[in-house]
Subunit: 334 residues, 2 copies
């Protein structure tokens, strides 16, 4: 057994990943994979909870997401990447968990309440959506994860998992450890190219990791800046200006960035100059990502092998976990 | 492929089975097994939905129920008996189904509403309990059942299953057939020994298939009759009198039973005489059941083998079904 702590993380495959994903989670995963035992789950089953009538969207996204992972440097030798639908033991475990949670408790979950509102489900909440925090508790515990990287808005999901773990251990004997949220040190949300708080596919304000040089360039040149910075000679605002936010995030020459900020603030620096520099910075940032993407792109067999191998590895662990669970409950006669 | 229609039926293992179970379902299963492909499921997972904190009750009951099945003549060569917890594909399938049903629809299910009231859950409904009709739809469809024997009060469960089947087929392509309820021809509910409408463990008015001769005799001699039939000479009522109901159900000498009824109605026939005759009838009915029970009792290995073999057979079918399901959804990359 390794002394490394076990992490579970992942994404719903509903589309390609963008710079917001990179800042919010992917860069962290690349760091953590050398110091932790890391599982990254492509949550295809969970993605179906609110896309049940559009499975093709999910299917199409699975290999896009996998390719994004590999392109940013998530290394299948260090990180186990797997597909949720390949681990039936998660659903099996989730059904034992469902008996330990009340409907009222699920309905009170603040994350779920927000998400239900966002999705406009109103009275037509799919049952699978309401119970997905329980499925998530099974995702986490099936690999005995100790740490789950989350944003602050996802803390209720960790609390739900720990409530289930405590109930399970109390009734059936100590099988699972409680999990800890791993909250990133610095702000992990990247604003959109249009200045909106969050980069998101649905807000149409995203730069994708898979965007080619021309697309990135066009998106950068069309970015929102300070709406009061009408002429180059006007003083401009740096705060809330995504061009500078992105420079802070992706740039490496901090002195040059500080000089640009000062110049912009006092006036005399046009948006185009700053955007051109940001374009250089982003293209440089994306170059190694594009190189790695090329290695994998077009090698569908390799991609499938990586996902199959990771899923097979997790299935072996999941089988051991479910065996412990059934022994604890007493379901040992089969 | 056999031309026989496929039946799924079963019981929650929460205790030994009694004469009410025999009348309501077991006798029917013994008949149907030669003309149908019959699966009988011991629903241990479902029993846990409202017994999560008392698993031992369920575990203890599993082999009691199996022994009752074998004792009444359910033949493992003709009927596949299996444990629900041995088929993880049911939970897996149920999670795909949960996306096709709204929380509101589940809350409206009349059977569930009644059961929630009976169990006094009030605001603390376990999520697993609310969603068990969806799990049940998976039980039924995982073996491609065409017929499900149910009482009239269980019809909403069949309707829920068919709604799910229709949604699934519409979205993902035709995978499942709709199922039909198989409602018994004659009244299938046996009253309790105390004259209450239903024989039930919780009402403490049951004669168990496993009761020995003395216990049956004592229960019969203590049965409720016509409360106005105080002396043997008084005229007595046959309707609502469980002693006569049981004679009608388990007796074979219809002429003798009719004579007793006539005599009782006009007066001059004491309860004790009728009860002694009912005791004879029941002991005779139970004799072959006791003989078969003896063959299996004490042979724990054989019981385990029967349950394991049945479960293994169903798992093979369940694996085929889940493969079809995943192919239909498009989850074919693992």
């Amino acid at each position: 057994m390794s002394d490394k702590k076990i992490i579970l993380t992942g994404d719903r495959p509903t589309g390609k990943l963008h710079l917001g994903h990179y800042v919010g989670s992917l860069q962290n995963r690349v760091k953590l994979q050398s110091t932790h035992t890391q599982y990254v789950m492509i949550a295809d089953q969970q993605a179906l909870t609110d896309n049940a009538d559009n499975p093709q969207k999910i299917i199409d996204a699975i290999f896009d997401v996998l390719l994004d992972y590999l392109a940013v440097g998530i290394d299948p030798k260090q990180t186990t990447i797997f597909a949720q639908s390949g681990i039936p033991q998660i659903s099996e475990l989730a059904f034992y968990y469902l008996n330990l949670v009340t409907v009222a408790r699920l309905s009170r979950n603040p994350t779920i309440k927000d998400e239900i509102k966002q999705r406009g489900f109103e009275e037509s909440i799919p049952a699978g959506f309401l119970v997905y925090p329980v499925h998530q508790a099974a995702d986490i515990t099936i690999v005995n994860a100790q740490l789950v990287p989350v944003g602050a808005d996802q803390l209720p999901m960790i609390e739900q998992t720990n409530e289930i773990v405590r109930s399970f251990n109390r009734i059936y004997g100590s099988v699972f450890n409680e999990v800890e949220a791993l909250i990133p040190e610095k702000c992990s949300r990247l604003m959109g190219t249009n200045g909106q708080e969050k980069m998101s596919k649905s807000l149409n304000n995203a730069i994708y990791l898979a965007d080619d040089a021309d697309t990135v360039s066009k998106k950068v040149m069309g970015m929102y800046t300070d709406p009061n910075h009408l002429r180059a000679s006007d003083p401009g605002r740096v705060e809330g200006n995504p061009v500078f936010t992105y420079l802070d995030t992706f740039g490496t020459d901090t002195q040059k960035i500080q000089d640009l900020k000062d110049h912009y603030t006092r006036g005399g620096l046009g948006d185009v100059v700053v955007k051109k520099y940001l374009n250089e910075v982003l293209q440089e940032f994306l170059t190694p990502i594009r190189t790695r993407r090329k290695e994998f792109e077009g090698n569908q067999d390799l991609l499938k092998t990586i996902l199959k191998q990771g899923t097979q590895d997790v299935r072996t662990i999941a089988e051991q976990t479910i065996k412990k669970v059934k022994t604890a409950i007493g379901l040992t006669y089969i």
